[in-house]
């Protein structure tokens, strides 16, 4: 996999002016692990490997939904 700093330098050449991340801190997280995930995503993008945007796959049951729908505030 490409080196992160090398990839970043290429992005600057392509006009990158800012980048921000959502990172879930926790056990096992490291700079290298984060960089690897970003590079994997970028490799997929470069290769045209995309998926559909996520959609809802679960719903509340009708009895729960009835309670939610009937909630009232003044």
């Amino acid at each position: 996999m490409k080196n992160f700093d090398k990839w970043f330098a290429e992005q600057l050449t392509s006009g990158l002016v800012d980048i921000k991340f959502a990172i879930v801190p926790g056990k096992g997280v490291s700079r290298e692990a984060v960089q690897d995930e970003i590079l994997a995503a970028e490799a997929a993008i470069s290769s045209g490997f995309f998926r559909s945007a996520p959609k809802a796959t679960s719903m509340n049951t009708p009895d729960v939904q009835a309670i939610l729908d009937s909630a009232v505030v003044a």
Binding site: Q11, K20, I23, E37, F49, V64, L68
Partner: protein, 226 residues
């Protein structure tokens, strides 16, 4: 510490707090303004009084208006969904290319869960709204690595740089957009009604409400109890 050093530290801390206050206020107001636009164009109530009036606030969904459409009206913006299997540490990230009027945004979302994808997309879209003249921009490899290190450390490191602070403030914008202030009384009432409804409802009250408006359950808990 030498007096000059103490004064410098004091000034730096005050300056950082001032920047944080500025961006916090700004992101809060911006999120509310965008929600108001989406509300008017989609028929979602600004201050709902009945549960049946509410549904998920559009982030990227194909509706009359959404956060993505509002952001895109200001500057070309697209969300990319790369087919990668792992969203262990990086559920999403944001990139901006080009200067000022000619710039465009890319938001990359890796999270696969619908509620998480909505939330992280919203968080990254908040960055698309920021015009900062480069002050908080992450525009060198060294800064990017520093940002990764500071975000990976969670809140343990209080001496964070402006770029990291802005990244964290974007979470606030996403929360305010997805769970507007004026929805909170009704959402709290929904939780209370479920908790009164007995076994099967009480234990998962927050989850049921989170499912209804499609936000992560933990974030709904934080928003309703903060």
């Amino acid at each position: 510490m030498a007096p000059q050093g103490a004064i410098l530290l004091f000034m730096t801390q005050n300056h950082t707090e001032e920047i944080e206050r500025h961006y916090s206020r700004w992101i809060h107001d911006t999120a509310i303004n965008i929600f108001n636009i989406v509300s008017e164009q989609t028929g979602l109530p600004k201050a709902p009084t009945l549960g049946s009036q509410i549904r998920p606030i559009p982030v990227y969904e194909d509706e009359a208006s959404s956060l993505l459409k509002c952001v895109g009206a200001r500057r070309p913006t697209e969300i990319l969904w790369p087919a990668v299997p792992d969203d262990k540490y990086v559920p999403a990230y944001f990139k901006r290319y080009g200067e000022k009027k000619d710039s465009r945004n890319e938001v990359v979302v890796i999270a696969e869960n619908y509620c998480h994808a909505r939330f992280f997309a919203a968080k990254e879209l908040m960055h698309c709204l920021m015009d900062d003249d480069g002050f908080v921009a992450t525009n060198t490899a060294a800064l990017a690595n520093q940002l990764i290190d500071e975000l990976s450390a969670g809140n343990a490191n209080l001496d964070i740089k402006p770029q990291t602070m802005v990244d964290q403030i974007a979470y606030v914008g996403a929360l305010v957009y997805l769970i507007p202030n004026d929805w909170i009384p009704l959402l709290k009432q929904m939780v209370a009604d479920l908790e009164k409804a007995g076994p099967g409802m009480t234990e998962h009250a927050y989850r049921h409400v989170a499912t209804m408006i499609r936000v992560p359950e933990l974030l709904l808990r934080i928003r309703l109890t903060q």
